[in-house]
């Protein structure tokens, strides 16, 4: 059952072949049995899940169920959930239970999907390896020595290992696409504003976006149908209609114009990763697409611009963690400054502190123009690069990450870690959607093909990804660990 897609499970639920209770119990057992090795969950809510499954089965029996009713899912532990801890991977929120549900959580519950629990992540979504979690690192199911990527590493590993059919992640600089690539699953970062951010703990508000992580593009389409849409509680959510993302999946690709950004195939790209990506592009040519090289000239400014803007926003977003109203509070503070200092010293990990320091510095008087304002100008140029490219081509393709999953502890220097996101970060700065789909293996670890489209082109990206998955079976491969019976 665990190799089934959401689409397949939904069909089995609809036909009555399986009940949600059966499916849910099966996945809960798998978590129980395998997650000690992976550490992909922070909280598993078995009892709640079984109750929700029964409710879903009842809804189906009553004949008014949503297509996904009864499908088990996992939520990155960044989405606020009423009466279940939301830690954001941090000691700071180890005791935090939100009094409300995030909008996406509400929507998923309204569709009668079943949450199995909250997945591990880099603390406050800051990281590319899931090694920055207060709850310990997550392991890559393809190789336990390897990282799953980050920051949505728990969601990616859980889906890849068949502990859950699909999960929600968030992507601020690549945090859905890079772990999806590292774990051999499909992950979509929607257009900024397509999915509500209400109840999603903010890292960098102008970049954060929630999206689905699953076994196939078709699964992502089903989940997008549930979570996308305008939310009056999020002023930055887009007030425009939501298409049926499954409608267009089977459209043929003949005549599709693919652009390969030359900057995405340069120095630093692993030769075997490049080989897999170029092979995937050839599959598209065989499906009738045409391919040309394009240029995104400001690509090399993306990482510096991101590491000004994201920490600046983060330094402000994370000010609310002060020990006054919720979350960690230091023991016996002697005065207010002591309360603030020790609470934050104890509650935040290294990487979070580093980014708060960077952000505080770049916003300071005398540095603001040189850093923040400059970075915003760069951001506009990067966005324009993409808009110019989409004048000539329909989608852009390239690697999701320069290498396959690296080993735990391999990247000690923060800058080398930041370079992991070289192909994903510009996408967040531009606000456009991107999807990573499994495209083979290099060094025995999965390779992700990244496909980018213009703003609100999710349906097109899902169609393009789905057609690839009709022509290949990379997305059907399962790690050996997923098949262990022990």
């Amino acid at each position: 059952m665990h190799d089934q897609t959401v689409t397949q499970l939904a069909a089995a639920l609809k036909s009555g072949e399986l009940s949600s209770r059966e499916i849910t119990a099966h996945y809960l057992q798998r978590i129980e049995r395998l997650d000690d090795k992976l550490n992909s969950f922070i909280s598993v809510t078995a009892e709640r899940a079984l109750n929700a499954a029964e409710a879903a089965d009842k809804a189906r029996a009553d004949g008014h169920a949503h297509a996904l009713a009864g499908i088990p899912l996992a939520l990155k532990d960044i989405f606020c959930t009423q009466s279940v801890k939301t830690s954001c991977g941090s000691k700071m929120l180890d005791n935090f239970v939100a009094p409300y549900d995030a909008t996406v959580v509400e929507k998923l519950e309204a569709a009668h999907t079943v949450s199995l629990g909250k997945t591990n992540m880099d603390e406050f979504a800051m990281g590319s390896s899931n090694e920055n979690s207060h709850y310990g690192p997550v392991k890559n199911p393809w190789d336990l020595k390897a990282v799953p990527g980050g920051s949505s590493g728990g969601s990616a590993a859980a889906v890849a290992a068949g502990l859950v059919p699909a999960a929600l992640g968030t992507d601020t600089g690549g945090s859905i696409r890079q772990p999806a690539a590292f774990c051999g699953i499909t992950g979509l970062k929607p257009t900024y504003g397509r999915v509500s951010r209400y109840g999603m703990i903010a890292y960098a508000s102008s970049l954060d976006q929630a999206g689905p992580m699953a076994r196939s593009a078709s699964d992502c389409a089903h989940l997008m149908n549930v979570i996308a849409g305008h939310d009056v509680r999020d002023s930055t959510s887009a007030a425009r209609g939501v298409p049926d993302y499954t409608e267009n999946l089977d459209a043929p690709l003949s005549g599709l114009k693919i652009g390969l950004p030359k900057e995405y195939f340069g120095d630093g790209l692993d030769a075997d990763v490049e080989r897999a990506v170029r092979e995937a592009v050839r599959v598209y040519e065989s499906l009738g697409a045409t391919v040309r090289e394009v240029s995104l000239p400001h690509t090399h400014y993306a990482i510096p611009a991101y590491y000004v803007i994201a920490p600046a926003e983060a330094s402000s977003n994370l000010s609310r963690f002060d020990g006054v109203r919720f979350g960690h509070r230091c023991e016996d503070p002697k005065d207010l400054i002591d309360l603030y200092t020790r609470t934050r010293q104890e509650g935040f990990g290294e990487e979070v502190k580093r980014r708060i320091l960077i952000g505080t510095h770049t916003l300071s008087e005398g540095f603001f123009d040189a850093y923040y304002i400059k970075a915003q100008k760069v951001r506009r140029l990067i966005r324009q690069d993409f808009l110019d490219a989409f004048e000539d081509v329909d989608v852009l393709m390239g690697p999701a990450a320069p290498t396959t999953a690296f080993n735990l502890g391999a990247k000690k220097d923060p800058v080398s870690m930041y370079l992991q996101d070289i192909y994903t970060i510009a996408v967040n700065l531009a606000g456009i959607p991107g999807i990573s789909v499994p495209a083979g293996f290099a060094h025995g670890r999965p390779v992700g093909l990244q496909i980018l489209g213009t703003h609100f082109a999710e349906a097109q990206l899902l169609n393009v990804a789905h057609q690839f998955q009709q022509a290949t079976d990379w997305h059907r491969h399962l790690p050996a660990l997923a098949e262990e019976n022990a």
Binding site: C88, S235, T236, S315, L318, S319, R320, F326
Partner: protein, 484 residues
């Protein structure tokens, strides 16, 4: 040396929206601590602000009322600092692109001279909560009911030159915001608070002196007193060879002095940057035009109309136009009686006196504008004399009678102007006062004028106050002189 005072004001006006600027919580004053604080007001992780459109409309109406530029685009910024009653660790405000641009306000000084004070800009922001230091045994309580209440911060240019001008400016702002109905203007409850920037410079100098900012001055009177103290302090300091340092000071009304809070060196770096959770506010001309049609007649226009069309003095026009309620009361009374001068006198005299004695606001007046107008009408048409009018007013105040006419009727206060009837009363008084008549007759002619007062009093008494006093005077003189 002659010194000149330079003053600029930052006035924080609490807008009278029903809900907070970025959440649906109520803004009502005086509830139990933390009962009006939602996830957004508490700054809970994942919560997001949604701008209250009513706050925008109110800010724009203020801008239109002070003839300000209203930029097409304004942007919210975050002002970052840590404080326990600031839930998110930043205040959402507008630093770089405020909603209201440059404008001006006309103030009227005691000598009826008017002066224009320029407004630099006005911006929207959220209020913080309150720290409660009592009742917690060495700890501090936090009440977040006020957190997120919309404020309009109105920043003037340094155009004021005396404490009086500053107070007049503050009154003008108070008058405008209450006219517009965008604030209750209640200073005691903190609906209007004021930071005062004060500096001094040698008279005739071009450059400004170093300023001190006095925080949180919350009454018209305190503004004057704080400035008076601060000006004296600065002049003394400079004359003693010292230097004013740029700093923030607090006014202590108990001791009538200002005290240093923090100097520039200790000042926070607020690290302002655009709030990524809120979209820029974009206002089109149609929206501004629509709000313009909703503007009431404003104090300055009313003042001018009272003077030019109703013929009131500058003083009367200014006093009446300062408060919208008083102006409307006056106008309604005037509509009824048709005599603006009389209506102005009654509203400022008898009515205001009675209201002050019982500490009532004009909207609580037991005598309605209709009733007062009816009363004045009877004075103007001679139905009652001034003395009877006061009695009628008192009766209406006490709820004895629905209208002036009813009271006049029931108390028989109608003025007697029939000469025959008055003469009859005079004859009787003269007949009953032989001694006084004799005194009158024997007195020196220039003393007789005074002595006639006695007879007038007796006749008025006999008429129970209703006789026309001018007629009584004239007829008495004729009759007494005939006896000589």
């Amino acid at each position: 040396m002659q010194w000149e005072t330079v003053i600029g004001l930052e006035v924080h006006v609490q807008l009278a929206t029903r809900s907070k600027i970025f959440s649906g919580s109520s803004t009502a004053f005086g509830s139990e601590p933390n009962t009006q604080a939602s996830a957004v007001d508490l700054g809970l992780p994942g919560s997001l602000p949604v701008l209250n459109e009513q706050a925008v409309a109110m800010a724009v109406q203020f801008g239109l009322a002070v003839h300000a530029e209203i930029p097409e685009v304004s942007v919210f910024d975050r002002k970052n600092y840590f404080y326990p009653d600031l839930p998110k660790g930043y205040q959402t405000s507008q630093m770089y692109h405020p909603i209201v641009g440059a404008g001006e306000v006309e103030i009227t000084l005691d000598d009826d001279v008017t002066k224009r004070i320029r407004i630099h800009h006005a911006h929207l922001e959220e209020d913080a909560g309150k720290s409660l230091h009592e009742d917690f045994q060495g700890m501090t309580g936090i009440d977040l009911n006020r957190a997120g209440t919309p404020l309009l911060e109105i920043v003037s240019e340094p155009d004021m030159r005396s404490a009086k001008e500053a107070a007049a400016y503050l009154k003008a702002i108070h008058s405008i915001v209450t006219y517009l109905g965008i604030s209750d203007g209640n200073m005691a409850e903190g609906s209007m608070r004021c930071d005062v920037n004060v500096s001094v410079r040698p008279k005739g100098a071009d450059a400004f002196g170093t300023r001190a900012e006095i925080k949180n001055v919350n009454s018209f009177r305190f503004v004057e007193r704080a400035i008076a103290f601060e000006v004296e302090r600065q002049i003394e300091l400079i004359e003693d060879g010292g230097k004013v340092v740029q700093e923030t000071r607090l006014f202590d009304p108990e001791r009538d002095e200002t005290r240093s809070m923090r100097t520039k060196e200790e000042a926070n770096d607020y690290r302002y940057f655009p709030c990524p959770d809120l979209l820029p506010v974009v206002l089109d001309q149609a929206y501004l035009d629509h709000l313009k049609t909703l503007l009431p007649e404003l104090p300055a226009d009313k003042r001018a109309r009272f003077q030019n069309e109703l013929g009131l003095s500058a003083y009367d026009a200014n006093v009446l136009a300062t408060s919208r309620e008083m102006a409307e009361f006056f106008e309604e009374a005037y509509q009824v009686c048709g005599d603006a001068k009389q209506a102005a006198n009654w509203v400022q005299g008898e009515l205001s006196g009675a209201l002050n004695r019982e500490n009532l606001a004009i909207h609580q007046s037991p005598v309605s504008a209709q009733q007062l107008g009816g009363l004045i009408e009877r004075v103007v048409d001679g139905t009652i004399n001034g003395k009877a009018a006061k009695e009628v007013f008192q009766a209406l105040w006490n709820g004895q009678g629905g209208s002036a006419d009813e009271v006049i009727e029931s108390k028989g206060l109608k003025q007697v102007t029939d000469s025959g009837a008055i003469e009859a009363m005079i004859d009787q008084v003269i007949a009953e006062s032989p001694a006084q008549v004799a005194q009158y007759r024997d007195a020196e002619p220039d003393k007789r004028g005074k002595m006639i007062g006695y007879f007038v009093g007796q006749v008025m008494k006999a008429s129970r106050g209703t006789a026309n006093p001018q007629q009584v005077n004239g007829l008495l003189k004729q009759k007494l002189d005939a006896l000589l």
